[in-house]
Symmetry: C2
Subunit: 246 residues, 2 copies
């Protein structure tokens, strides 16, 4: 692994340490792991977007060639297109070499909660299609146990919204219907709704995931278990990496 110098990057904004950390994590992951010739999954969210932007910069500078990106959301697709990153779909490129994406929580086992941005259905499709998953986060996302700080985002097909809410409540969750800032129901790229299920610390994430996957109205669960990611964590004191080998 060759680390590229980062001193040439624009300095992170001084005002917001968390924003600076997100940017550092996203950019550094690209510099460490993205290489010419790769088929890339392009993540969604306020940290992953810095990875997409760094890829765009390197493509524009000519130092990253022959790459193709598959975006995980319409927002990422629009930004990647503007940046001039060559794009494809999984119809054209069904297997990816590397995906850089964010997460809302990272456990000591490197299991993840994702879906704060509502894109976890396509994010999981991309994660399952990729050889290596690189997760970029700031230190606030590293937790002792999944569920400690976040709800599990559960994407539900509209007709099943009430029975699936009742199922989640029967499991002990406090369930919040996700809304837009304007207060309207949040609608995913696939036309579904999201129930944010607050469980608190989750003792058996695998059992919970299996139970939710078995529900016919549940289209996507924001529990990403067993993906064996490399996790790039940026904090005020620098950047560290977590992986199964470390």
């Amino acid at each position: 692994m060759t680390e590229q110098p980062t001193g040439t990057q624009p300095a992170p904004p001084a005002g917001d340490p968390q924003l600076a950390a997100k940017r550092r994590a996203g950019e550094l992951a690209v510099e460490r792991y993205v290489r010419s010739g790769m088929r890339l999954g392009l993540g969604t969210g306020s940290t992953a977007i810095w990875a997409v932007r760094r890829i765009g910069q390197l493509v524009a500078a000519g130092s990253l060639t022959d790459v193709v990106g598959v975006p995980t959301s319409p927002v990422t697709e629009a930004e990647a297109r503007e940046l001039g990153i060559p794009l494809a779909t999984l119809d054209e490129v069904p297997r990816l070499d590397l995906t850089v994406d964010g997460a809302d929580e990272v456990s000591p086992q490197l299991d993840l909660i994702k879906g704060g941005g509502g894109a976890h259905l396509r994010e999981k499709i991309i994660a399952q299609a990729t050889e290596k998953l690189v997760i970029v986060v700031d230190e606030s996302k590293v937790v002792d146990c999944l569920g400690a700080t976040r709800a599990v985002p559960v994407e539900v097909v509209r007709p099943a919204l009430r029975p699936e809410r009742e199922f989640l409540e029967a499991l002990g969750a406090r369930v919040v219907d996700r809304t837009t800032p304007a207060g309207d129901p949040y609608v995913t790229a696939e036309g579904n709704r999201i129930l944010d299920a607050w469980f608190g610390p989750i003792a058996d994430a695998r059992g919970l995931l299996a139970a939710l996957e078995d529900r016919a109205g549940v289209m996507a669960v924001g529990l990403f278990l067993g993906f064996d990611p490399i996790v790039v964590v940026a904090g005020p004191d620098g950047v560290r990496e977590l992986s199964a080998g470390s």
Copy 2:
């Protein structure tokens, strides 16, 4: 259980024994199990539609009162509406007393393959919301092992069509993209596609279902396992019932 006389029903059409059996199964299931006051799931397909029609007849005749139906497909909804059956959604009625639906295969354990009509996503939502599931079939649907005569219908979100097809093929299935009679891609009520996965006899249906449910691009699997249905089977020699107690 009180059996109502069936001699008052219109005679099944004489020309097609299988059609006659489907009709007999659907109508008889209603006469045996549907009662006034019930919240009913209304199934989809060429056998279940006879149950819906019989419910409509009984409602029109005034012998079945205070029922409400939740349809499993737009086709069933349209027919039920025309028949004058009071309809509701799962928003209004999240728990159902009884659902009468068809199946494409019934195993000795009363596990099912469904989805030949493409409605298995909503059919499974309804089946999970119902207290008792009554399955109506003709004898040709009773098999020794799931997969013996049918493909497993797998509903897939459009962007993941190619990776999920490759996943099914890696499991050993021959995969057919479902099309309309006109040859266009079949699109489900939820806007997804269907891959018909021919496995042949399936030794471990539970393992297969769990593997498919874990795929992010898979929205619905036509394996209905552990629903403990009452199965009403009509054949040339009469009607028999299969249930866990029998």
